[in-house]
Structure formats: structure tokens, C-alpha cells
């Protein structure tokens, strides 16, 4: 009879809701930036290949969303495409969450145009600023307004949306203040969409992550950025980002770990594995690895912490 099945159903649901997960397998929870996600995913996959009894899960709530969970102690590790902000740090302090941070890779930003664009081969930071600053809205509309020998045709701009760390970094590095940007461009959080947009329009001009350029070299053309210090045009590639000649358009990626998590053996092993392997693995997913010196700084940082804080929870 219907009533009986209804009551049975409600009882079983409440039973499920009450049942507790008592002592599952050791697990590590990671969340945060969708930019850093591929790196953490790669590390997690390789780590679990040698440690099959540990469960590592990775979410993609965004750097801000991740920090929110991080400061509440809900996750062990936050993937961050930017350093922690002061408000987020205060939230951690308010909840007694102490943490460590490690740099794990670099992400380069490629400036791209359509392959049949013959005139735009290099660009200066100052020209980029004139093109993208807020006052350019409705006023800088054609190529020749940037450089007089470029054609008198309309520029079509493509770029990441305001939620993207790439956007924050680009605006800070080029315009001077984060989020200061003209508002009349085609925005998307999905870099693949931007690739498509630029590949379809002769007058397109866009910027996005290096990995997306590297995977679509047949469809789009990179523009060399004139390094402000050396005044030479540099094309974006893994090598040029790594040796810092491609500047200023590269940004560091981080992971943040709570000290509480680091009391567990599996997390310590994981972070060690991460730092040991992030050079190789970050490049395998299209990012740029840290230089040898930078890597040894992170290794030392981890070693110092591990020594000062021995394991508290036995496995």
C-alpha cells in the first residue's frame, strides 16, 4: 500500500542520513583553482599509483571558494592561482587554521592573433596597456590606434572573464591594478572558447593560458612580447617562461596546506611527492616548471616544517 511504502522510504532515508562514516581509507581532500587543477590531478594520479590505499579527491570550486572551505578546515589542500588575500588569511586565523604555502608551477599567458594576421608580430607592454585599460572602452577600436603602421581595421578583443586568475594577473601586470580593464571585449571563462574565437576572426586579438596556445598552434599565432627590461621581443614558450625572458606575462601557481592536515602521514607523503614531482608533472599538463633553484627553496621549506612538526596521528 502506498502509505506503507512512503513511511518505509522516509525511515530508510533518515537511517542513511544518520549513519556515520566510521574510519574509511586514508583520504586527502583538495579543492580550489581550476587553473591549478590539472597539476594537482596529475600529482594525485601518480601518487595513488604508488600509494593505492590513499584516496585523493580534487574539486574545482575556484580559488576563492577553495579558500573559503580551507579557512573552515573543510579541505586539506587548496589549489590557488593567486596568493591568499588578507581577508582570507584573517578567516584562517579566526578559525585557528595555520597553514603552509608552496609554489608549484608557473602559468604563462600567450598573446594571440589570427594566423593570417601579418602585421602584428610583437607588442610592448605600454601598447598592451593602451589597448586594455578602462579608458580604451569605445575609444581604442582600430589597429592603427595602437601602432600607426598597422591597418585601419577594427580590433576584436577576446579575453578571460573576471573570475579568472588569468584576468586578475593580466590586468595587474599590464594595466597596473588588478581588475582594471575595458569592459567591451568578448569574455569567457573557458579558454577553449577564446581559442575558437580568435581562430575564426582575422582581426581578433586575445590572451589566455599558455597551455591552450601550445595545444592549438595550428589555429592561432602568438605575438612576441617585448621584454621591458631587455627590450627584445620574446615569444611565449615553456623555456622562455622558465628562464624568465618572457616577461611580465607569467604567474606563479600555489598550493596551500593546513598544518592540521600535515599532522597526518599520508598528507606529508603527498606534499613531499608533490614538490618532488611537480616539475615533471606540471610540464606534462602544459604548465611551466619552477627553476632548479626555486624548487630547492620549496623543498627546503617543506623539510624544515616536517622536522619541526613530527607526525601526531599514527596511520
Amino acid at each position: 500500500m502506498k502509505i506503507r511504502s512512503l513511511i518505509l522510504l522516509m525511515l530508510s532515508i533518515s537511517f542513511f542520513a544518520c549513519s556515520d562514516k566510521k574510519g574509511g581509507p586514508p583520504s586527502i581532500s583538495i579543492d580550489g583553482s581550476s587553473t591549478v587543477f590539472p597539476v594537482s590531478e596529475a600529482v594525485a594520479e601518480e601518487f595513488m599509483a604508488v600509494n593505492p590505499n590513499v584516496r585523493v579527491t580534487v574539486g574545482e570550486s575556484g580559488t576563492g571558494g577553495g579558500f573559503s572551505k580551507f579557512s573552515n578546515g573543510k579541505i586539506d589542500i587548496n589549489d590557488a592561482s593567486r596568493p591568499i588575500k588578507s581577508k582570507e588569511d584573517s578567516a584562517c586565523k579566526a578559525n585557528n587554521i595555520a597553514y603552509e604555502s608552496f609554489m608549484v608551477a608557473y602559468d604563462g599567458m600567450a598573446i594571440v592573433v589570427h594566423p593570417s594576421n601579418t602585421w602584428c608580430n610583437d607588442i610592448t607592454v605600454e601598447e598592451l596597456k593602451r589597448l586594455w585599460e578602462p579608458s580604451a572602452r569605445d575609444s581604442i577600436m582600430t589597429w592603427n590606434q595602437i601602432r600607426s603602421d598597422w591597418p585601419v581595421e577594427q580590433i576584436r578583443l577576446f579575453g578571460p572573464g573576471t573570475q579568472s586568475g588569468t584576468f586578475d594577473y593580466f590586468t595587474e601586470a599590464i594595466v597596473g591594478t588588478a581588475k582594471e580593464c575595458r569592459t567591451d571585449y568578448t569574455a569567457s571563462e573557458d579558454d577553449n572558447v577564446l581559442v575558437q574565437g580568435v581562430a575564426a576572426d582575422k582581426n581578433a586579438f586575445g590572451y589566455f593560458g599558455l597551455a591552450y596556445y601550445n595545444n592549438n598552434k595550428d589555429k592561432i599565432k602568438a605575438v612576441a612580447v617585448i621584454n621591458p627590461k631587455s627590450a627584445t621581443p620574446v615569444l611565449p614558450s615553456i623555456e622562455t617562461v622558465k628562464n624568465k625572458s618572457y616577461s611580465p606575462l607569467s604567474r606563479p601557481l600555489f598550493i596551500y596546506v593546513t598544518d592540521l592536515a600535515l599532522e597526518r602521514q599520508e598528507v606529508r607523503d603527498f606534499i613531499q611527492f608533490y614538490i618532488d614531482n611537480c616539475a615533471k608533472l606540471s610540464e606534462s599538463v602544459g604548465y611551466v616548471s619552477l627553476s632548479v633553484e626555486e624548487l630547492s627553496i620549496e623543498e627546503a621549506k617543506l623539510a624544515k616544517f616536517l622536522e619541526a612538526h613530527p607526525v601526531k596521528t599514527a596511520q
Binding site: 576563492g64 569574455a187 576572426d201
Partner: protein, 291 residues
């Protein structure tokens, strides 16, 4: 016996009450967070500023561009889905062979089952280029593309539910109409549709609500450029796209920028509320019950 009846009635009422719990919950979440927002940004600015740029350095908090985006995509979607959906319902009910009805109706319902993420990418990668051949000035993101695909998605809501409503009209009415020499066309429009109007109108309301609340299709294909415009060829941003953008993004929880989600959300909620009240008023005027 009486006790059992009362018990059953109470149990059913409890279930209905869950919907109240949902509304209370949603209102609580929306109001408590937007309270903080409106303490900082005056309501007049919220309603009259013509730009929405809370995530840029130069912040504007005018919600009208988002409302315009939502309205534009919804109108396009309904303009497609209502005539097509209703026509299909009438056709399947009165004209088509019963076997055809049995196979076409579920086939169309599949349209409602396709994940909206997939629709979004379909709109972006197939529909937009196709439309660009007809309208060369169409931008890569547009209300037109997203609106049309949304319309396709909600066709089954209107066609299936309306068809069910038409199906439920007593045969006696149909037979009386044919007995007087009416064509299927006349029977459908002068007898059946008015008789089933309650169900049909409800299906349209559900479809409109669905379109207004749709998130992924517009997030992927309509763009992220808040634009106070009625032009379907340019990128716009809807309220729902904005909410998704911010809540899965990099904004700090609790900041003013984060609270804009709730301000936008409550606008949508009020908007839907007004829409529904109008629809209910219309429905009451046309409701007919046949024995």
C-alpha cells in the same frame, strides 16, 4: 476510519509543507546576504545604473543589464517554443495516428533530457556558426543563439504537458463537435484548447520559469558581457550566468562582490514572482471545468 483519513490528510499536508520550507530557506539565504549588499549599494543605484561591472575595478551595480539579458533570451525561447510546442501538441492529439503519438511524444521528451551543458556547447559550436551564415553580423556570443537553443529545450515541456491536457478532455466533447460538422482545426481551437486551457497555460508557465532560471546554456553561449540592449545579435549576460560566474569563481566569500550574487538572485526571484502572479490571474479567467 475517520482517524485514518485525518492522518493521511496530515501526512499529505506535511509533504506540501516541504515546499514552504524550501521557499523559506531560499528567502532566508537570499535576504540575509542581500541585506548586507543593500546596506552598501542604495536601491536606487541598483535599479537605475545602466552598467553592471562589480568585478571590474570601476564598479557599477546597475542590475538592469542583467534583467535585460534574462528577458531577451527568455522571450526568444518562448517565441520559438510556444507556437511550435502547442502546434505539436494539437497535431499529435487530434491529427496524428495514435501510434505516431506514442513514438513521437517520448522522442521529443528526450529533448528535455539532454544536459544543459551539452546544449550550451551545441549552441556555441554549431548553432552560432550556422546563424552567422544567415546573419553575418552575429557575434560569437549572442542572445539569439542561446535563446533559440533554450527554446528547443523547452518545446517538450509545452508539447508534452499540453498534449496530456488535451488528451484528458472528455471524448463526449470531441464527439459533439465533430457531430456538428466541425473540422479538426475548429474542434481543436474552439473546443479542446479552451477546455484544456488550464493545463496548457500551466505548461507555458513552467516553460517560462524554466527559461528564466536556465543557467548553463546562457552561461556558455550567450556571453558574459552585461549589456543593456534589446539586440539579439550581441553578447549579453543573464542573471543566472552572473551567479554561476561568481559562485564558482575566485571571489572571497562574504565580500561585497560575493553578495552581488544574492542581490541578483533576489531580483530574479521577485521577477519570477510577479510573472507567476500575472499568469495565475490569466489562468483564473480562462479556467473551465467539464463534466
Amino acid at each position: 476510519m475517520r482517524r485514518k483519513e485525518k492522518f493521511i490528510e496530515a501526512l499529505l499536508a506535511l509533504c506540501a509543507g516541504i515546499s514552504v520550507f524550501t521557499t523559506v530557506g531560499i528567502l532566508y539565504v537570499l535576504v540575509s546576504e542581500s541585506y548586507g549588499f543593500f546596506a552598501t549599494v542604495p536601491l536606487s543605484e541598483f535599479l537605475t545604473d545602466d552598467q553592471w561591472t562589480p568585478l571590474f575595478a570601476d564598479q557599477h551595480f546597475g542590475v538592469m543589464p542583467l534583467v535585460a539579458g534574462t528577458l531577451l533570451t527568455t522571450v526568444i525561447a518562448i517565441a520559438l517554443a510556444l507556437p511550435v510546442g502547442l502546434t505539436i501538441a494539437i497535431y499529435l492529439n487530434e491529427y496524428a495516428h495514435p501510434k505516431l503519438r506514442k513514438s513521437v511524444k517520448p522522442a521529443l521528451e528526450v529533448l528535455a533530457a539532454i544536459p544543459t551543458v551539452v546544449y550550451g556547447y551545441f549552441a556555441l559550436t554549431v548553432v552560432t556558426p550556422f546563424l552567422q551564415q544567415i546573419f553575418p553580423e552575429l557575434a560569437g556570443f549572442s542572445a539569439l543563439s542561446a535563446g533559440l537553443v533554450m527554446g528547443v529545450m523547452i518545446i517538450p515541456i509545452i508539447s508534452s504537458l499540453s498534449e496530456d491536457a488535451l488528451f484528458a478532455v472528455p471524448k463526449s466533447l470531441r464527439e459533439a463537435s465533430y457531430g456538428m460538422g466541425a473540422t479538426p482545426f475548429q474542434t481543436s481551437f474552439k473546443v479542446l484548447v479552451p477546455a484544456a486551457s488550464s493545463g496548457i497555460i500551466v505548461s507555458v508557465i513552467l516553460a517560462i520559469s524554466r527559461a528564466v532560471g536556465e543557467t548553463m546554456i546562457v552561461a556558455i553561449a550567450a556571453g558574459q558581457q552585461p549589456n543593456l540592449t534589446a539586440n539579439p545579435f550581441v553578447p549579453i549576460e543573464t542573471i543566472t550566468t552572473y551567479i554561476v560566474q561568481v559562485s564558482t569563481g575566485d571571489v572571497e566569500r562574504g565580500s561585497l562582490e560575493y553578495k552581488t550574487i544574492f542581490a541578483a538572485g533576489i531580483t530574479l526571484f521577485i521577477f519570477t514572482f510577479i510573472l507567476n502572479n500575472i499568469s495565475f490571474w490569466i489562468k483564473k479567467k480562462f479556467l473551465q471545468k467539464y463534466e
